[in-house]
């Protein structure tokens, strides 16, 4: 059968638009603007760049961990709902994606701002008055100098706001793969485990969780990769204060400091570090799965 010839046009397309661009990144990373071979792009990445690297990976790691902590129990609970509801559940998780993600993130600005909705709400229920009163009371009693003119919580332009934006935007990518994997678990495994006398906690630990690990791993990848490389979330919710790898790369290509060679080098390093993380994680995951099989 010659059906495999159907793939040839796409193989050509991939060579042109998937493989070639990545090779160009590699070439740019190892050359200077005059075209000569150099390692300067990598050696110049010390100091402040390392801070940005560290911050990006740390914030993305925290966001991924929070997504997993929220996403797993939610996916687990959703998978147990009646089958009549299942179609709707996927829809409800996917639906926010149809509101442009820039706008959803921008909407968090209105919520978190110093004069934003959340601070207005806190003021309206008298939370700040209460805190000020308590501080005043402590000052009077113990002679301390706590401030008593709190008018708002500073939430926007903090690292916390950036993490919140990441969790908000990428949580569905954690819930969906875990949910679909748990849904496919054969219920006879659970019955077998229960029949053999396993208490619910053991059933979860020995059967459900190991079988859902592939979903967890793909969820982690789908959250971590966009989180570590974002520049929009840090732009909107971190102000200019919190610079991430994405901002650094974006600046080298479209921003004021135009230097695609340095930008390519940063992108390449980020890509390699991500690939290493994912490989280690998948290795670890594969072993776990095998351990369950035997």
């Amino acid at each position: 059968m010659k059906a495999k010839a159907f793939a040839y046009p796409y193989i050509f397309w991939m060579a042109l638009f998937v493989v070639a661009p990545i090779l160009i990144i590699v070439v740019y990373a190892f050359t200077s603007s005059t075209g000569s071979l150099t390692l300067d792009n990598f050696t110049s990445m010390g100091g402040s760049y390392l801070t940005v690297f560290g911050r990006s990976f740390l914030l993305a790691f925290i966001a991924t961990a929070i997504c997993l902590l929220i996403g797993y129990p939610v996916a687990h609970a959703l998978a147990k709902e009646k089958s009549r509801l299942q179609g709707m559940i996927v829809m409800i998780i996917m639906l926010p994606m149809w509101m442009n993600f820039l706008l959803r993130t921008y909407s968090w600005m209105s919520i978190l701002e110093n004069t934003g909705l959340l601070n207005r709400f806190f003021a309206a229920i008298g939370l700040f008055d209460l805190i000020n009163a308590i501080s005043g009371f402590i000052n009077n009693t113990f002679g301390t100098h706590l401030s008593t003119d709190l008018e708002y919580f500073e939430m926007i332009n903090t690292q916390g706001a950036v993490v919140l934006g990441m969790v908000y935007n990428y949580l569905p990518f954690m819930i969906l793969p875990i949910y679909s994997v748990i849904l496919k678990i054969d219920s006879s495994y659970l019955e077998a485990a229960r029949d053999l006398g396993a208490p619910p906690r053991t059933v979860f630990r020995k059967v459900v969780f190991p079988l859902s690990l592939s979903g967890v791993l793909s969820g982690i990848t789908m959250v971590f990769v966009p989180a570590v490389s974002t520049f929009v979330i840090s732009d909107l919710l971190g102000g200019a204060k919190i610079m991430l790898l994405g901002n650094l790369i974006q600046m080298q290509f479209l921003g004021g400091t135009y230097n695609p060679h340095l930008g390519s080098a940063i992108a390449l390093v980020m890509m390699i570090v991500v690939i290493i993380c994912m490989t280690i994680m998948n290795k670890f995951g594969a072993e776990e799965e095998q351990a369950v099989m035997f």
């Binding site: 059968m1 010659k2 059906a3 495999k4 159907f6 793939a7 046009p9 796409y10 193989i11 397309w13 991939m14 638009f17 998937v18 661009p21 160009i24 990144i25 740019y28 129990p73 687990h76 609970a77 959703l78 998978a79 147990k80 709902e81 009549r84 179609g87 829809m91 998780i93 639906l95 926010p96 994606m97 149809w98 509101m99 442009n100 993600f101 820039l102 706008l103 959803r104 909407s107 209105s110 919520i111 004069t115 909705l117 908000y168 949580l171 819930i175 849904l183 678990i185 990769v225 966009p226 909107l236 994405g246 790369i249 974006q250 290509f253 479209l254 992108a267 890509m271 991500v274 994912m278």
Partner: protein, 294 residues
């Protein structure tokens, strides 16, 4: 999974949905706000919805968004289905590395896909410019020598990142298909091509449609890749919003997003009701079949 979810699981799920939808509700509510503040409510109005259609920037970016999403989803669906059929008929040894390359745009960070394609286009246009310049000199043609990124490059980028999703959704359907069907069709005198057209395609149709929907959604929601590949001449809605977030986002954007969101919501509900009806019919016909077998 047949158990009922626990109360704690349900509460967490509901809280998660509140978290996912809160910013969207804020956006929708403030699209009816009579002042252009995004935190202070000053009264109900529908003005923004009226003014929306007179705003040429929003309307033109909306039409760019829709044309690029529709065209790229259609092209990606056809190309991805063809490629999946091709891949499926290859030996595993050739297929595995090709599928790995196919996965690159899905796994890679958007910013790297965007930046690398941007570099490719710049390099290709430089090359092309030199070539047409040479043609002009040698043959006295009057071809343009300067090319810039625009709708064409935007479309190429969208097609490239959409095809993998179509393949991902078609491939499992091909694997589930009964291979004897193709053989039977060919034994009955079908040519290989008409066997694919008349037997394979109808059989994998749900996967194809699903792939098309995912591709369209990805296209509509994309910002980062468009940002790097659209150049300065064409602008998608997401890009227009990004430019606005630097200054001030008009409530007209809230209005257009609300309209889009409601459109999708209604479409999804209709599709959902129809598919659950079909499922019921399917179940009933299965019951009838079973009673025949008995």
């Amino acid at each position: 999974m047949k158990e009922r979810p626990s109360v704690g699981g349900r509460v967490l799920t509901i809280l998660t949905f509140v978290f996912l939808y809160a910013p969207i509700i804020v956006l929708i509510v403030f699209s009816f706000n009579s002042s252009n503040s995004r935190t202070v409510w000053s009264g109900f109005t529908l003005d923004w919805y009226g003014e929306l259609f007179e705003d040429s920037l929003i309307m033109s970016s909306l039409s760019t968004t829709f044309s690029v999403s529709i065209i790229s989803a259609l092209v990606a669906t056809v190309a991805g289905t063809a490629a999946a059929i091709g891949f499926f008929n290859m030996k595993k040894r050739t297929r595995a590395p090709l599928l790995a390359i196919n996965n690159i745009p899905m796994i890679n960070a958007d910013i790297i896909t965007g930046v690398s394609m941007c570099l490719l286009f710049v390099a290709a246009f430089g090359f092309l410019g030199n070539f047409t310049g040479w043609l002009n000199r040698v043959f006295g043609f009057n071809l343009p020598t300067r090319f810039t990124q625009g709708f064409g490059t935007l479309l190429i980028a969208h097609i490239t990142f959409n095809i993998p999703y179509v393949i991902l959704s078609v491939m499992p359907k091909l694997q589930q298909m009964d291979r004897n069907l193709v053989d039977a069709a060919m034994d009955l005198g079908c040519s290989p091509l008409s066997a694919i057209w008349k037997v394979v395609i109808p059989d994998i149709m749900p996967g194809i449609i699903n792939g098309a929907i995912i591709a369209f959604t990805m296209s509509i929601d994309d910002f980062v890749i468009s940002f790097f590949t659209a150049g300065s001449n064409s602008q998608t809605l997401a890009m227009a919003i990004y430019t606005m977030t630097k200054k001030r986002v008009t409530p007209k954007i809230n209005a257009i997003s609300t309209l889009l969101f409601l459109t999708v919501l209604i479409l999804l509900i209709v599709v959902n009701i129809r598919s659950s009806r079909q499922e019921k019919k399917l179940q009933e016909s299965m019951k009838i079949k079973k009673s025949f077998v008995r």
